[in-house]
């Protein structure tokens, strides 16, 4: 496998593996403690399937990742991250690399897909709280003429901020919502993994 897409996925898989117990711990506090384990299993499968591919088209790569996640992660994260990558794939089809506006288009498509599948709104204490501000920051940076690396760095920073902002929120979607007020004071595990996704993308594009 080669190209920026494959590099990103490899970096993301390594990061998820490293953060596996941290994600499990966050999920144990307000969910059922399987987020790190499930995502790690899915990312390992995604890398394995990318390894068997020679296509460096971003659309094909992201579609492969999406299908790998849908069929191996389970839980809510499987269809949600699967949908995110399938939508990234549709938006990036025919390209081996993207400019800042291209990344903004792709991420916006992905966020719309996640929102349609999960029916969550920003502020519900979900992965969307990291993804939505990241897509907005990315679009603003692209319009300001930033380089892809700089624009994606802004997106990752916005995701970081969005992730931290989930701590005081009361969950309204997903299993954490069953806790009511007891979900307050904990960082959302989905927003945390979404931040990892954007940070590794920014790191990958910056290193190219």
């Amino acid at each position: 496998m080669s190209g920026v897409g494959a590099e990103w996925i490899r970096k993301l898989a390594a990061e998820v593996a490293e953060q596996r117990s941290a994600l499990v711990e966050l999920d144990t506090a307000i969910g059922d403690g399987d987020h790190g384990t499930n995502l790690d299993r899915g990312m390992r499968k995604a890398v394995q399937q990318l390894d068997g591919m020679s296509d460096s088209d971003l659309g094909a790569q992201f579609k492969t990742v999406g299908m790998a996640l849908v069929s191996s992660v389970g839980g809510a994260a499987g269809p949600l991250y699967g949908t995110l990558f399938l939508e990234l794939g549709k938006a990036a089809a025919g390209h081996e690399e993207l400019d800042a506006a291209g990344w903004a288009d792709a991420l916006e498509a992905g966020v719309r897909g996640v929102q349609a599948r999960g029916k969550a709104e920003p502020g519900d204490k979900t992965m969307l709280d990291a993804l939505a501000p990241a897509a907005e920051a990315l679009r603003a940076a692209a319009e300001a003429g930033d380089s892809p690396a700089d624009a994606l760095r802004s997106a990752a920073d916005a995701a970081d901020e969005g992730m931290r902002a989930t701590i005081p929120l009361q969950a309204r979607k997903g299993r954490a919502s069953y806790l009511g007020e007891r979900s307050v004071g904990h960082q959302d595990p989905g927003a945390t993994s979404s931040h990892l996704l954007l940070r590794t993308l920014a790191d990958t594009v910056a290193a190219v």
Partner: protein, 333 residues
């Protein structure tokens, strides 16, 4: 963590292999992707019923596969929804031309994965109806949550819909029956101890020796509140009271009373809960026309119980009494 396992990563696979070895006359097990299916599937002309969910709730759902109940069950990893490819293959394996009902517990992951699977199956020309169960009264405010969880009523719906499908009723009617059962049923659960997933090796929440958790689900998630431990009579009053306040139960009604163990509570304690429940219902003029007592929808090694009440009528009583032949639920006419 003390468990009778070989390898934490092989728990679901090895348990499926055990089921296949124990019930070769009734079940076939597929591993890639994982599902349990009736040995004699597909049944031509019969509506097929598929359910599924995370593992760790045994005997639900795999133990309910067989004549008179489920045609197939899709087990996910422990406490993790199965994936759409499993549900699609299971749906294809059981479709006998009359359509397939998906019975889905209302948990975000289960709902999303079953939705994707239904899209895929319909794309392959199979008629699919899906009914989501959401009977857990512990979740009070559904506008600000993912909605009420699907728990004990799911077991009853699988039995009743299985009987209706065996009678040759069409898909729309079996789905409507499933919605009616869900509407007429309510549940609530409590835990004396948390459970330990093989993956994490740690308790899912903490409780002191003199505490209990009220309003738990079936995935080791903490409940609505922690209380001081109380006698069985008071605990039963608490659970039954919440159910009766919420549900469509009135003086003169007949119900099915289901006392379910969460996995680590002995039957002797469940019968004490049943004794209290029976007393509470009689005092309210509600007749217990049918009952089920035992471990049917569990949360690994959690100690505790749940209570489910289902309002009955002649049709539901007849469907409940119809023969069923599965590893975990079995009686003849």
């Amino acid at each position: 963590m003390k468990k009778l396992i070989n390898d934490p990563d092989a728990v679901t696979r090895e348990a499926l292999e055990g089921m296949a070895a124990a019930h070769p006359d009734r079940l076939r097990v597929s591993y890639e992707p994982a599902f349990v299916v009736r040995a004699d599937a597909p049944q031509q002309g019969k509506v097929a019923i598929v359910s599924g969910g995370g593992s760790g709730h045994e005997p639900m759902h795999g133990g309910f596969v067989g004549p008179g109940m489920l045609d197939a069950a899709c087990p996910g990893e422990v406490f993790t929804s199965p994936t759409p490819d499993q549900m699609l293959e299971a749906t294809k394996a059981v479709d006998g031309g009359a359509g397939v009902l998906h019975i889905v517990k209302n948990y975000t992951g289960d709902v999303l994965n079953f939705e994707m699977a239904a899209d895929l199956a319909q794309g392959e020309g199979i008629e699919v109806a899906a009914v989501v169960t959401n009977d857990d009264v512990a979740v009070e405010d559904s506008t600000y949550t993912a909605g009420r969880r699907g728990v004990g009523v799911t077991v009853l719906a699988e039995k009743l819909c299985g009987a209706a499908a065996a009678d040759g009723r069409p898909l729309a009617e079996v789905a409507e029956l499933c919605r009616r059962v869900n509407d007429q049923g309510r549940s609530m659960g409590m835990a004396l101890t948390p459970c330990v997933t093989p993956g994490s090796g740690k308790p899912s929440f903490t409780l002191a020796d003199d505490e209990m958790e009220i309003g738990i689900g079936i995935h080791g998630e903490p409940g609505r509140r922690t209380e001081k431990l109380a006698p069985a009579a008071a605990v039963t009053e608490m659970l039954a009271g919440a159910i009766l306040d919420d549900g469509p139960f009135a003086d003169g009604d007949r119900v099915l009373a289901f006392v379910n163990g969460m996995g680590a509570t002995p039957l002797i304690e469940l019968y004490i809960v049943y004794r209290e429940l029976h007393r509470i219902l009689e005092a309210r003029g509600i007749a217990v026309a049918r009952n089920l007592v035992g471990n049917y929808i569990t949360a690994l090694d959690m100690a505790g119980c749940s209570i489910t009440l289902l309002k009955l009528d002649d049709e539901l009583e007849r469907l409940w009494d119809a023969p069923v032949d599965t590893p975990a639920l079995r009686w003849s006419a």
